[in-house]
Amino acid sequence: MSKKLMKGNVAIAEASVRAGCEAYFGYPITPQTELLEYMSERMPELGRVFLQAESEVAAINMVYGAAATGVRVMTSSSSPGISLMQEGFSYIAGSDVPAVIVDVMRGGPGLGNIQPSQGDYNQITKTAGHGDFHPIVLAPASVQEAIDLTVLAFDLAEKYRTLVFVVVDGAIGQMMEPAELPPMRELPSGRPDWALTGAKGREKNVISSLFLGTTELELMNKELQAKLAYIQANNEIRYEEYMTNDADLLLVAFGTAARVAQTAVQHLRQEGLKVGLFRPITLWPFPSRRLTQLTYLADTFLVVEMNAGQMVHDVRAAVHERVPVHFYGRMGGVIPMPEEVEQKVRELMRVVPTEDDVQTHQFPVKPQAAHEFLRM
């Protein structure tokens, strides 16, 4: 099949249709709205359900209801809308039903703005709702990957009966790139045996997150934690490495920040600096083990995010203080430029003096690099 030039939001929408999404519930919000708009036309065309709810709270509870009947269901929103949906996420997690959520992140907190951001990292990976659970979180960095991971999201949700998030920033939602769509899947003929399908001729199924007894609720929690541990152990950790083999300094970034970091690596390599990029694709489960291994290779880490520093805490936890983990980020919907990242790397590798160096009259510390600097 040939490639088409597609906008991220539209690509995610069509990918979900082809992955067999049977019902979509949502509420418009920029920079995600093209996704909902596309679904409003496409789903009825296929005889599937599209419903614009009266609010995000209503939309996520409709998702919960549809998920309980065993259909492939999704919603999409952007940061403030995702915040509103949190109660529903927790109910879905507590009920062990599968659902796919797309978050096209924008600048926050509050209403913030509609520019690209990665400020929802903590909200989605750590605190997607009350109680103890994590969704699986997939973070594409291109339109093609957004398509591939959306399809994967439905499969993982069903396989583990869990919430799966696809998180992109507004840039990937709005950007156009050539990409290839997967073939259209046939919809399943039956429903899973746990689903609410009318209990005619069988024992009734109960889908609920209400367990009033402490013993029961603790047991339910233990089972949920066992499932999450199984997901972590079951090869669901995904990441990509770029020029890490001989890297002295390792950049760690996801989504659009990783694209920026990749360009920075290309430029810095031309200067002879050994820099590599580690890009987590699953933000939960987080690729901690591989990052620990990479501390034996690179002696400095620099995390680049479009927020005040959220994933950096997971990176620090992963490397057990074996190497210093630095951070560079922009907030407020600003995408960092590769040049900013490059400058930060040069400072860390002491190719150029830092502000502190200048104030304390220190010269760059790496002898070879200092030599280069003095020649400049």
Partner: protein, 177 residues
């Protein structure tokens, strides 16, 4: 080889479509491309711009601080980008609406009266095509034929009657000194 192009002007001047057409043509020519708009609470008459990157290699950042080429369709865009074009780069100015002259001698500058060119051809709305033509004459990242073919491939049925005129304006821009 990687070329970054920023096209900027008023909403309604065809800034976003001009960028998309470049991206389509780049894709059809088998290159890697990205197109990213400035998006915001903006409407017709406000400012709009998009960044297009066309490359033989996979593209990292879809945005650039210093573009290789800036195509500025109005005065505010000229003011914003005149000093951002990378040394050795190209600044294409719609001199129908921009009265300033670029004072830099480290970039190539061309002044195209795009509104006039398009109007003479029969439709002032096609000024974006005049500038794309002028761009390809100075930076052969794609051939004129490739761009014309992409017009044919990607212009919707509702605009099909404008196809010939689009091509004419493209060619006028291409031949414009």
């Amino acid at each position: 080889m990687e070329t970054s192009i920023i096209i900027a002007g008023f909403g309604g001047q065809g800034v976003l479509f001009a960028g998309q057409l470049l991206a389509y043509a780049g894709m059809d020519a088998g290159k890697n491309v990205t197109w990213i708009p400035s998006y915001g609470p903006e409407m017709r008459g406000g400012t709009a711009n998009c960044t297009v990157i066309i490359s033989d290699q996979p593209i990292g950042a879809p945005i650039v601080a210093q573009p290789d080429v800036a195509v500025v369709l109005n005065q505010p865009s000229f003011d914003k980008y005149v000093n951002l074009v990378k040394p050795g780069g190209l600044l294409l100015v719609n001199s129908s609406l921009v009265t300033s002259v670029c004072g830099r001698d480290d970039i190539q500058t061309a002044y195209i009266a795009a509104n006039t060119l398009a109007e003479e051809a029969g439709n002032v709305k096609l000024l974006n095509m005049a500038l794309l033509g002028a761009l390809l004459a100075r930076r052969p990242i794609l051939t004129l034929e490739q761009l014309e073919q992409s017009l044919v491939n990607h212009v919707g049925a509702s605009k099909a009657h404008l196809l010939e005129l689009n091509k004419q304006v493209l060619q006028r821009g291409y031949s414009c000194q």
